[in-house]
């Protein structure tokens, strides 16, 4: 594949010794990272997120996990961990890029040559910005019961139905979604993974305000939406497996201790700024949460390493998702608890920036709901890992 001229430089970063790689990325971040991207407790979205990714791209630092043949950095697991650590050290804001983390890897695995050529470069240069359309009003945890239909008509599929909770759909240019193309005895069959442009006639997006007051997620209505059959990824009727191939990676991504680290740093700053670091309640909470974070980080590294060996540590991924998200929540709860009157007010100035306690607290709430809720993960683990009877 030809590499876009304004792109990832094509340099083989993975060949560098670890310390050199770390030093280079650190230096680059120090020199190039704009101040408004260094607000770890905030989420970068929309145009600003795209600009940031483009900057990474221009200098060769985009898509660290993608193979170089697809325009990524081709980093192996130890380097990926360094990459993450440096982002964290530089206090880079959190971002969501479903194209990079979800769709890209799926297309590399299961897409057609044409799909890869059409979509991968546009993900890298942010011309395309993807959202995920899986959940429906009556199909959340029980995703396989989804009812949005796609009927074959000539060379096209006609999609009708409703999706909900599609994150950042209002700013996305494209959506990858799961639709029902046939009704089978087993509900996981007859589901198809398909790609659509958000500007296609018949798609209506209605943002939903969440508890943090943001309009991140949306309802998306599909009314006779015509999509070419070549947009199907994998085989028709086998979209469930296509979407599952994705979930392994998504789980490492959302099982990452990154949010917890960000919250811990915010908690630490709060302790200093509010002058409560020395108090027993603070010290006790801090010690407990630090130990737990250490354990989560250890499991994360270990799981990442196993993934890097090409294995599928699915139980560890589920455990990590539970442990990391619940730890993240506990940190924000401690923050709310320890900040006294400042908790419900929210914003506490820290240096030239601020920590928004209530924003972090609210952001942490759904982490145990999306990406397979904590309850669903526990159900899976009790059967798959502990082999408990299911009668």
């Amino acid at each position: 594949m030809s590499v876009d001229p304004c792109t990832n430089t094509g340099e083989d970063f993975d060949a560098l010794p670890d310390h050199e790689f770390r030093a280079r990325f650190r230096r680059w971040l120090e020199q190039h990272c704009p101040a408004d991207v260094r607000r770890p407790a905030h989420r970068l979205r929309g145009q600003r997120a795209r600009e940031w990714f483009r900057l990474l791209y221009r200098h060769g630092w985009r898509a660290p996990a993608w193979p170089r043949e697809h325009g990524g950095m081709g980093l192996s697991i130890p380097k990926l961990i360094i990459y993450d650590e440096e982002l964290d050290r530089a206090q880079i804001s959190r971002t969501v890029d479903m194209g990079e983390t979800h769709l890209g890897p799926t297309l590399m695995k299961l897409g057609t040559e044409e799909q890869r050529r059409l979509y991968l470069p546009s993900i890298l240069n942010c011309e395309h910005w993807w959202c995920q359309g899986y959940s429906e009003p009556n199909s959340g945890s029980d995703l396989a019961s989804l009812k949005t239909r796609a009927e074959k008509e000539g060379d096209d599929f006609i999609i009708n139905g409703q999706k909900i909770w599609s994150s950042f759909a209002a700013e996305a240019t494209h959506v990858f979604l799961l639709v029902r193309t046939s009704t089978e005895a087993v509900k996981q069959r007859g589901i198809t993974f398909i790609l659509a442009e958000m500007s296609t006639p018949g798609i209506t997006v209605k943002p939903i305000i969440n508890l943090a007051g943001d309009d991140d997620f949306c309802e998306v209505f599909y009314d006779n939406v015509r999509v070419p059959a070549r947009n199907v990824v994998g085989r028709v009727g086998e979209g469930w497996a296509v979407s599952r191939s994705l979930l392994g990676m998504e789980r490492l991504f959302i099982g990452s201790p990154r949010n917890s680290q960000i919250a811990m740093r915010a908690l630490h700053s709060l302790g200093e700024v509010l002058g409560i670091s020395g108090e027993r309640a603070f010290a006790t909470a801090w010690a407990e949460l630090s130990l737990e974070l250490h354990a989560v980080q250890c499991l994360y590294r270990e799981t990442a390493r196993v993934l890097g060996q090409g294995l599928n540590p699915e139980n560890e991924l589920s455990m990590l998702k539970i442990a990391a998200t619940e730890h993240f929540q506990r940190v924000t709860e401690a923050m709310m608890d320890l900040a006294g009157e400042y908790g419900p007010i929210g914003e506490v100035p820290v240096g030239s920036d601020s920590v928004d306690i209530r924003q972090l607290y609210m952001l942490a709430r759904p982490a145990t709901i999306y990406g397979g809720s904590s309850e669903i993960q526990r159900n899976i683990l009790s059967r798959r890992m502990l082999k408990l009877p299911n009668d």
Partner: protein, 386 residues
């Protein structure tokens, strides 16, 4: 209404039931969940109109002696009232601008000032809020540093107070001060704002508003001193103590109602062809929350009893109750969100409003940590046989 009929476990008996019925009538006539969202953009964080209605229905003077124009009821009835206000998240600051200022006026020695203000407060014409806190994590209402200087005709107030509830659009403040080395409470009319009162408002997560007040050489009339010395200190400590009990009642109501809403949802939402309420993992979680609610209610009832009896353990039990009720309400409401799934994370769904209310009431008047610490310090009083 809570999971277990709140009526059954109240200590107020018949009068509590009457208060509750009356308050429910008031609420259904003047309030809806829509208002909880609307007040988030209202400057004061509540509706002055509903405040007036609340006053006209007689609720503000519930705890005022009949001789002073109130209903002469006790804290058990106040708790019953807060139970009803809490379960519907009534935004009007009953505790901050009703219960506390009324207690201060009713108990103060300055009869002419009381005559001048009490009527307006009870009938809702005058909204007073009490400014005693000067720093975060501080909940000893009988201690302050703000100084009232000068004497008689040249009294001047200079300094600040923090986190004053419902301060925006208030008609006046009752401010704790140190005057000539003695603790005192003074009334500061807000109309004087032209002459040196500044107000920095904070919108809290539940939509209510508190403010940091700054006084810059504000002239105070000697006739506006409510009380001085030990009497003033005892007065405000007692009023804030009662407010803390009332806040516990709010927290319990918020928790009970949030659990009831979640349990109701679990009986309606279907996934995997079953009501999610039939999944044992969720059943156990809900039961655990119900246990927490029962414990919190019992802790408050005990604190109310000891308070009514004026026992030596009243202060310890009050702190225990505030710590327990704060922890319980935040736990129950955030768990209720989890039990709802994605819909629970939307602003449109009421359950999030309960979480936000719980967070505010939990942090107000001393949070779980502060009261937990205080309970440990006071516990020796509890352990002595009565």
């Amino acid at each position: 209404m809570g999971i277990m009929a709140a009526e059954a476990s109240t200590v107020a008996g018949e009068s509590g039931r009457m208060v509750r019925d009356g308050a429910r009538g008031f609420v259904s006539a003047h309030h809806s969940m829509k208002r909880v969202r609307q007040v988030r953009t209202a400057e004061a964080g509540y509706s002055r109109e509903v405040w007036t209605a609340l006053a006209e229905a007689g609720w503000l003077g519930l705890r005022i002696p009949e001789s002073l124009g109130g209903a002469g009821m006790g804290m058990a009835e106040v708790a019953a009232l807060c139970d009803v206000f809490g379960e519907v998240l009534l935004p009007e600051p009953y505790i901050a601008c009703g219960l506390i200022p009324c207690a201060l006026l009713a108990g103060c020695a300055n009869a002419p000032l009381r005559e001048r203000l009490m009527h307006g407060v009870i009938n809702g014409q005058q909204v007073l809020t009490v400014a005693w806190q000067e720093a975060p994590f501080h909940f000893h209402a009988g201690q302050c540093e703000l100084t009232l200087s000068g004497e008689a005709e040249s009294l001047r107030l200079h300094g600040g107070k923090r986190f004053v509830p419902a301060a925006v659009n208030a008609d006046g403040y009752i401010v704790s001060v140190m005057h000539a080395g003695r603790f005192a409470l003074v009334h500061v009319p807000a109309s004087e704002s032209a002459s040196g009162i500044t107000l920095h408002a904070h919108r809290l997560i539940d939509g209510s508003v508190c403010a940091d007040l700054g006084f810059s050489d504000v002239k105070i009339s000697a006739s506006d001193i409510l009380a001085e010395g030990e009497a003033a200190r005892e007065l405000i400590e007692s009023a804030v103590g009662e407010a803390t009990l009332a806040a516990c009642a709010m927290l319990n109501a918020v928790a009970d109602r949030a659990l009831a809403i979640a349990v109701d949802y679990m009986g309606k939402r279907v996934q995997f062809g079953k009501h999610i309420g039939s999944f044992q993992a969720l059943q156990h979680r809900a039961v655990d929350l119900a246990v927490r609610c029962a414990l919190a209610r019992a802790a408050l009832n005990r604190a109310l009893e000891e308070h009514a009896a004026g026992s030596t353990r009243a202060a310890a039990d009050l702190s225990a109750a505030k710590a327990i009720c704060s922890r319980t309400a935040t736990l129950v409401t955030r768990s209720a969100i989890q039990l709802h799934g994605g819909i629970g994370y939307t602003d449109e769904c009421d359950i999030g409003l309960y979480l936000k209310s719980a967070l505010c009431h939990a942090a107000w008047l001393g949070g779980a940590n502060a009261h937990g610490t205080r309970y440990m310090a006071l516990r020796s009083a509890v352990e002595q046989p009565a």
